[in-house]
Symmetry: D2
Subunit: 438 residues, 4 copies
């Protein structure tokens, strides 16, 4: 019998329902701004938090004790886990999923075992995708959990570790391609440093740069049509991670000539750990032309580590959704729930509560943001605010029509005495609340 | 009579002195690693905090009430302030100073008054430099205090504000050139946003990019040999500043083709506000080839704003100095005290205590770091740690000798099973303490 | 002509209105849970941010240039400011206001001038209250702006400063009493330290303790029926403020025997600066029996200083309102807008936008929280969760029925093997969103 | 053969030694301020980080693979671990150690197994103490790792969990008493909340209060002469921990009448996570009369979680040591290394490097602080600064000689116009550096 047997498939039941395990706002086929809700949101469930993590933390043992987490044969566990995962996916009704290589198959004692185990489980995933219609939003390789990666993978001081990592990525990219994945993600969980005292920043950046170039070259050789994504994170478990935030990743991509090849997979909790709002990271990535996909979660504003909670702030998500819609929506990306139920939330139903609430929050945010787009007073305000740059002096400046001296002369000649014009922040904040609260 | 009359010029008196207003470690002519201490440190006193700021904060009025801050004629005050400043510089014995245009001359009601006032005071500064031998480490323009800059200068929605700012920079660069300044600094105090709701990130970045290009073009036209420096800061007074940190500035420079023309002026307190250690920002700038100069101060680890305290941690400064020495030392840069005495430190002597303590801390750090360089066990450790990348597999990977697939094949063929090697962080930390504490 | 002449009095116009300067949700006379909205919320406008602060910050001059902020006679300005303030209060329609002594009257050169100026302006305020029906939520004394208070007021190293502060509080309490104030607030803006090196913590706490005791004794002598409130804040402008947070204030009150005499005035932005959620501070104060009043504002989660923005998160405010309603609502307290428009928001209308949006956010939060109370599933869940403590073993433990040893014996005898029960955090979070988003 | 066989016992060899595994500053028998260094410092090694933790973190598996961490019989492992631990203790030369019950013995499936296993291992520890002369600084019970404690121990919603915890504490206190422990510590690792939505703060505080009262009653019944210590920590793994910081714990102790019975065990990393300097927490505890003992470690200023690194800042430790010496030094407390080598530091020698460096840092700090005490200019400065409170007006105010009104009258009569006197922060900071750097 399925672990999730007692949870009926989640259905859209409208806002009036009293059923805590129904969608109240997510109606997949509802058309908003000319596109179905499910096509807008491209929701994905992750394998690692929901099916691999046992509920342990740095101060305590696992609390979940799922059936497939009991001691026993590792390949048998992998099969049981896949059964549970796909059962969950179907009951939930999200169209996509995501995984690391070592989430779905036992790591094995060496590369031969690794590739054998992984290949076997990719067969299983392929069959399950065919049976269920589930799609892969992205795949990735776990280059941070095994002790060999303690000092980094591509940025390891040992080339053999780089080679091992390259091998895993080679297999994970192949699997992602075969499973029709829409993207391939690189998260450098240990690509950073614990102390500068033993670290050569320039060398490690060069290693990382070469690694990403190899990945991009391989993508083209493979004929993979998806997007390569880097996931910024500022720290944890390292003291400092090289993919700190979007702006840092952008500079890195420029340095290695990869800015047209690679985009970012942005995580809300990583944004806030980096000292930015989630909104900021999304808007920055869009403005730099590197926006790719989202790891939808939230952190705790008072806690300085990755809590990976389910996103539930419609206020925050509406602004994020507005930016994405304004930029034309996702292409290959989507909203992946890189989220975990709390260690105290041990019931099978809790896994559903977390996802259902988050999906409804995204659906509400989509609906509210669509209203903002329909009647785009924010965009109109901005257009008017910057109008001076679209013609005359402003345009000439941007077009290179002035040297510094010529512009100083011009300013003197005109005796410019510009005053400040109100930025109307409070009025605009109220406007957003009107879209959200009607 | 001079405001500082009662403070005798500060002299080096050795570590045994009981005089709180003598240098105990800073002996300008002492040679370390083949260079005089003063040439290593290139110490500068800033005009703004020490002579302009009246001791006010957001919760209270100025406490200092220096003679030149009393009500009265603004040009007369500017002269009195210059007298006091140069008297202080000489009594202290730091060879450099730094200023904003509006620190030294009254802003005036329009550009004509501005340029007249500023030109008059630049004459004064030039004469004083000649009399005293003081040198200018860098000049800059204040593009953040006047209400016109409330929404930014180069990134303002109004092109007229951009033009006004260009005018100030034109004059400030001219003055810096004329006064023999070693660098010219751009600090974008309000180049950022208060809310994304009224902000067009892409436009504002384009405006900033053009502004910096104009500055660089003007530098060459002017024949200015100094370095153009951007000073990263993450926030305050804005919610988010575009020059967030070194990595962000690097990406910006790459985007606008300026990475060979512009370097960074790093401030300790800005580094920590950005979520980095000061050491990190210096090491990062060096590794990216954009290290320029230092605003030497410290923040308070428990306070989330720019406290601009005098640097006094020899432990922190030794690591910073080690990085700078390893990279060959300053070229045009130096240590500028972007520091202010506490609002409670109202005595004239307090200004000396702050600077003397900071100078001695830097002198101690220089001496300790020189020992680290003399006997460079950290560098030796790193060389050995990364040795695998200097030949064989490592070198071939970096040289592009492998595709991802070829490397995966190689790893499988060799059946690589790399283990983790200790990073020896604790041993290296102890080693640093041995250099510091003998 | 009034500065606010062009802004018509704000009226409730319902959610459908397109008027940005109408209330869409705040309908003062609407009855919720048996009480009018205005009686629930007890809204107050503050004098200092809205009428005193000129729009300056640490990096720039004032941008507002209100008519009553121009150079001139200080008492004439005070009258003009009072006219503008009461005109604003009436147009806005909030029933209460709040002030510091030196907000309403010029400080004067000594105590005699101070008390004369203040007395004159209290007459003016009294007359204006009579004319307009405005009420005073609370008064307070500014013990932090003048240079004499640079090292604290009650915690100053100089008893004369303590005496000066006592004098101000004596006059401010008298004025508050005369004006029918509902509370008297003590905010210790500089009661803290900048460095421990010059600070005697035990002495300063004793001074503060005596000060508060004197205030409480005076309250009773005066016959003032209002509540004495302490406002916790962790830091800024000091490095550390003694009234750090609610828990710290509670310990202080217990030490000096004041826990039944004094309550707390909680500010959202101070809560988050102290590392707590606003919700936490309110819930903690209620659970300790010291909840008094609210300074309604918000900080910026990415900025480490008091931004005092207008509250606009209905999500956050609903939880706060729920706690307050559950505890029986305000007695003498209310929601005071300790908020300022952004320095860029220079228009007179911006002052209205800020307040109108905040009032509507509170009205929405009240309505949502009332739904939570009507159908209190959270309380029901908690009651059931802790049911074990209401009888049997739990009750006996709390009643002192067991020694440690007796309980250990009991546990062994029963061979207790308690398992963990799900905390259902995700389900409860979804439930809250249902109340908020329908 | 011992795991640490290749590391010779650590000896004091003086500052000139080149041996990285010798003490350069810690000379146990050296007398400072009339007391031996080892008696001042009372150094302790902890069991959990050094012998139990396998080097795992939230993102990866254990890297250490110590011999006693291999799969096998749990009691055999416990014996092997005790052998290794005492071998390490002796080679290091610290006189004390500390443990949790479940560090030294397997937890077992129920209370009967737990107490049997623990009793057996306490016999082993007793024998080892007798053989080696090692002493127990404190014992404690692990009330946070087992799933039963996921929602807290004493603050659990289930009384049975409280009873289980009481049972563990009963046994751990008994063991501590029998082993001659100098203190007993309570760290409430999960006594806090993850969300307020399911939490009753008042109930949980009442439960905790009763728990601590039971512990204190039991201490007296047992005749245990040591000190009961609470260890403040603000958060992690919980969102909010009830023992947030010293001030919070003090208020809690006052509420439950325990302020004379319980003191605090302060951890540097917990202080900084709470938004305080380590120095602040020590000074606060001393000023409140609740200072007990120290968990000596350090956090990373840029990372928001407990990194438990070895303390190595002599600058920070000197100030802490100065406060402790000024307060008379430790009574029952000491410096316990609640520290772990980095996950990358996998060699047996790394465990020694971490401890040796930390011990030398404390020895240096002790020596520097003793100089500060010998010639106590800080204390002299403070005495002079507050002199006004020792007589006349100041003394009368503190003694209750004035009502608020009488003091206001006095201030008016004397026409007090106190000015601010410099706090001399910069001079005092320089003074401290003179003590540290000679």
């Amino acid at each position: 019998m399925s672990y999730f047997e007692h949870v009926a498939p989640i259905r859209y039941a409208g806002a009036k329902t009293d059923d805590p395990l129904a969608f109240r706002h997510y109606d997949p086929s509802r058309v908003i701004l000319g596109k179905r809700m499910d096509e807008h949101l491209r929701l994905a469930v992750c394998y690692w938090h929901s099916f691999v993590w046992p509920g342990m933390d740095m101060f305590g043992a696992g609390t979940f004790q799922r059936p497939w987490q009991q001691a026993g044969d590792l390949m048998a566990q992998a099969h049981a886990k896949a059964d549970a995962a796909f059962d969950f996916f179907q009951r939930l009704g999200a169209p996509f999923y995501t995984f690391h290589d070592t989430d779905v198959a036992p790591e094995g004692a060496n590369l031969a075992e690794y590739s054998r185990n992984f290949a076997a489980m990719v067969d299983v995933l392929e069959a399950k995708q065919a049976q269920t219609g589930m799609k892969l939003l992205w795949g990735t390789a776990n280059l941070f959990s095994h002790p060999r990666y303690a000092a980094g993978a591509a940025s390891s001081p040992q080339p053999e570790v780089f080679a091992y990592a390259a091998s895993q990525v080679f297999h994970a990219m192949g699997a992602t391609h075969r499973l029709g994945g829409a993207n391939y993600v690189l998260w450098g969980g240990r690509e950073g440093y614990d102390t500068l005292l033993n670290t050569d920043l320039r060398r490690e950046r060069a290693q990382l740069g070469r690694f990403f170039q190899m990945v991009v070259e391989h993508k083209h050789k493979l004929g993979f049509q998806g997007t390569i994504l880097i996931e910024p994170k500022p720290q944890e478990p390292t003291k400092h991670q090289y993919d700190y935030d979007t702006a840092t990743v952008y500079g890195f991509l420029k340095e290695f000539g990869l800015e047209r090849e690679v985009k970012v997979n942005l995580e809300a909790n990583h944004a806030t750990l980096a000292g930015h709002s989630f909104h900021h990271e999304v808007a920055t990535a869009i403005s730099l032309g590197v926006f790719g996909s989202i790891d939808a979660n939230r952190g705790d504003p008072q806690n300085g580590w990755d809590t990976d909670q389910f996103p539930n702030s419609v206020e925050e998500l509406t602004l994020v959704m507005y930016e994405i819609l304004q930029a034309g929506g996702f292409t290959t990306g989507g909203f992946n729930f890189d989220t975990k139920v709390r260690r105290q939330s041990v019931d099978a139903a809790d896994l559903f509560h977390g996802h259902v609430g988050a999906i409804d929050a995204l659906a509400l945010a989509l609906e509210r943001a669509a209203k903002m787009i329909d009647d785009d007073r924010l965009a109109a305000f901005k257009a008017q605010r910057y109008a001076g740059w679209d013609a005359g002096l402003g345009q000439q400046i941007l077009d290179g029509g002035y040297t510094l001296q010529a512009l100083a002369d011009e300013a003197a000649k005109r005796d410019l005495r510009p005053g400040h014009v109100s930025g109307q922040q409070e009025r605009l904040e109220n406007l957003v609340n009107r879209y959200i609260y009607g």
